[in-house]
Amino acid sequence: MSEAVQIGPNPYEMPLEDINVSQASLFQTNSHWQYFERLRREDPVHYFNDPLFGPYWSITRFNDIMDIEKNVQQFSSEGGITLADRDESFKTVNFISLDPPRHDVQRKAVTGVVAPTNLAKLEPIIRERAARILDGLPVGEPFNWVDLVSIELTTQMLATLFDFPFEDRRKLTYWSDMATSGARAGGPTPEPVRQAALLECLEVFTGLWNERVNRDPADHFDLITMLANNPDTRNMDPMEYLGNLILLIVGGNDTTRNSISGGIYFMDQNPDQFERVKADHSLIPKMVPEVIRYQTPLAYMRRTATEDVEFRGKTIRAGEKVALWYVSGNRDDTVIDRPDEFIVDRDNPRHHLSFGFGIHRCMGNRLAEMQLRIIWEEILARFDRIEVTGEPERVQSSFVKGYTELPVVVHRR
């Protein structure tokens, strides 16, 4: 089934050059689909001069996005990964917004935490925590799935990765929200509030760093111990440390959270697909990447042209911003069969753009999939049905695609 509801103006009736897909409200009202559909067909490399973000290009077809991801010489990540300009006086740095060679050095320094052998060690802890959360849910009465399950589970996960004080774990969620909801990115949080929250984050994590700098990394697998002891990262300056923390907190938090909620919603909307997974749990590993494609938790990533580039007949000038709209490429029917349908047993379910591609391809992609696989295994072991009882409320952002509210009632097996 297609989600293409239309609220507000019809994008097919407005002049093409007026189409601006970066408005947070389009995503909050779930009315972005037809805008992207039109751009994919009529103007796949689209220019718009936005009052908030300045001029930017929208890349909306799957293969064009892939080509730009691979072309790191002409399309740099160093201008930042969102369309919002960064505040030069409060500039956090991390490898998602670095080009080679610095990107590669920093990424390699932390990749070990998500090595599959490490993930296997985390699996039983995550399963136990997921089971406890699900067992504690009220049965037969309405609650917000986002809050009681999606946020709680990803937050506990993150606390595990950082070995963060467990009772303070909701702070991680708070910092993640602050990092992504800034007014500069079209969100509701004023910049001073955001900066204060992030400085608090830095302070707390500096304390943890100082505790762990003398720990033996052979006995402690948490991220802070790894960063504090790795020769490539141990001399990071504070803003760089903060930048990498935010990267891991946001990377591991919002995205996974919204994939958990999204999966519940899609299953409710597609009962035939849900029945198939219920009848055959071995479909879960294929269904998980499909949930991630269908949700596309990050709508886009930005690049910046390093020189004038001729691209599909358009000239992208040096310094101009380029948004790679994963949310659109994931619905490109020239690459993905019946892309508007949610299908739990696709042939190549991982062939989607939600994790990006190329050297910045999501470092946590296997961890995210593992979390979703575990939660679905545990859900199906307990519940007959998760009934969505009202329309979800969505995040006001053109970057983070997700939910603030998903009202449900759970029914036991």
Partner: protein, 106 residues
């Protein structure tokens, strides 16, 4: 048809036929050899088709492109034998090539 011998990390061997011109990655995935994910479908953009090939066989292969080099370089377990199997087209000369699979893909 030239043949490829894949050896899984646990030692299990799979000998498969490969068409000239198709990549070693495709030879593996189309014959359901486990251990190669190939998320990007052969675009040299995911590095989940990582394999290990001895120096002897590598001397018969074209050297790594810059793109292959940069993707491999993200893997902390990369060795001199590391290659991305989607970047190696099969030829008659490669008949009998041995391809070792890593413990896991990142």
């Amino acid at each position: 048809m030239p043949q490829v011998k894949f050896i899984e990390f646990n030692g299990t061997e799979h000998v498969v036929d490969a068409s000239v011109g198709e990549s070693i990655m495709v030879a593996a995935t189309s014959n359901l050899v486990p251990g190669i994910d190939a998320d990007c479908g052969g675009e040299c953009s995911c590095a989940t088709c990582h394999v290990l090939i001895s120096a002897e066989w590598q001397s018969k292969l074209a050297p790594r492109s810059d793109q292959e080099e940069s993707m491999l370089d993200l893997n902390p377990d990369r060795t001199d034998e590391s290659r991305l199997s989607c970047q190696i087209p099969m030829t008659e000369e490669l008949d009998g090539i041995t391809v070792n699979l890593p413990e896991f893909q990142y």
